[in-house]
């Protein structure tokens, strides 16, 4: 399989015109999510979403790599949510995602938000 290099795709055909290239993530969407991250996020420089577009690629790549490792361990060919959850649990820097992957895993209880904090310890 052709493995894309670290920086592939971002300087294709004349370079980034600044907004979205063929492989970039949408900057406006990134900015929206950034603003939503806190009540007090006021202004965002134009470059910050651009850094994030690349950072998210790296993030997705890393998360996928780690998840796929779990899939392969199970001798499967389909990457499941549980594989993603395993990757999150196994990786220190993905600690902030632990509640997210265990939230989506538990539909059976009607959980109110404050209780989720305590559930963290069990995953």
């Amino acid at each position: 399989m052709r493995q894309a290099g670290k920086y592939s795709g971002f300087m294709m055909s004349g370079g980034i015109s600044g907004r979205t290239g063929p492989h970039s993530l949408p900057l406006a969407r990134i900015k929206k999510i950034m603003k939503k991250s806190g009540e007090d996020v006021k202004m965002i420089s134009g470059e910050a979403p651009i850094v994030f577009s690349k950072a998210c690629e790296l993030f997705i790549e890393e998360l996928t790599r780690r998840s796929w490792a779990t899939t392969m361990q199970g001798k499967r060919r389909t990457l499941h949510k549980d594989d993603v959850a395993s990757a999150v649990v196994a990786t220190d820097i993905f600690d902030f995602l632990v509640s997210l992957v265990s939230e989506t895993a538990s539909h059976s209880e009607d959980v109110t938000e404050p209780e989720e904090m305590e559930k963290l310890g069990s995953s």
Partner: protein, 229 residues
């Protein structure tokens, strides 16, 4: 550990908000599948059957990036795709939260690319910092090559030593040192400045040379203002 307290604050921050980007109900596309307790499917607020897509990266983009990593025969389940989508949004929020806090501490209004890079380093994503720094410097180079050459010009005028690196961005400084053409420009772009370019976007003269009066036209090899004449 520092990161633990950050995580606690991050989580409590998200719990306080009335609408978080990633509420459990919204990910629940099939309330009447076997997994679910039927009673839970009829809550006080009817669960959104459709996920609000504008709080996530487009799923097609996410899948495309995932496929770069996976072997050609690999399949990805739908719930895995959605989970990765959610993780990306959470990642953005997480980093932005930290970057924003730093801005507030330093009484700056604008979250800059440098803040984002700093936050990533602090939160454990330091192996991203170098490739992102290179990416950013190349972006700046492609976007503002004329502006950058103007700053190089000014740099020579005022004889300010290019970026006395405060040492905050170890990997970044290392990366930029390999691009001598960009070195002064990056410095002048405020790349190394910690808050010096208060709120200005990349490309602004954030360096110690505060004088803006001079037009910058000095008889030299080239005239950066030639286009404006």
């Amino acid at each position: 550990m520092d990161r633990v307290s950050v995580l606690d604050r991050f989580r409590s921050n998200r719990n306080e908000k009335s609408t978080t980007a990633l509420e459990p109900e919204q990910t629940n596309n099939n309330p009447d599948t076997v997994n679910n307790n039927p009673e839970a499917a009829s809550p006080r607020v009817p669960p959104c059957m459709v996920r609000e897509q504008d709080q996530y990266m487009p799923i097609a983009n996410v899948i495309r990036i995932m496929r770069r990593i996976l072997p050609p025969h690999a399949k990805i389940s739908d719930d895995a795709k959605e989970t990765v989508q959610e993780c990306v949004s959470e990642y953005i929020s997480f980093i932005t939260g930290e970057a924003n806090e730093r801005c507030q501490r330093e009484q700056r209004k604008t979250v800059t690319a440098e803040d984002v890079l700093w936050a990533m380093g602090k939160l454990g994503f330091d192996n991203y910092v170098e490739p992102l720094s290179v990416f950013l410097s190349k972006y700046r180079e492609s976007e503002g090559s004329e502006r950058n050459s103007l700053f190089v010009k000014r740099e020579r005028e005022y004889a300010v030593p290019p970026a006395v690196v405060p040492g905050q961005y170890g990997p970044a400084a290392y990366a930029l040192a390999h691009h001598p053409g960009m070195y002064e420009a990056a410095a002048m772009s405020g790349y190394y400045r910690d808050g010096g370019a208060a709120g200005s976007t990349g490309g602004a003269a954030g360096s110690s040379s505060s004088s803006q009066g001079q037009s910058g036209v000095v008889g030299g090899e080239f005239d950066p203002f030639a286009q404006f004449k």
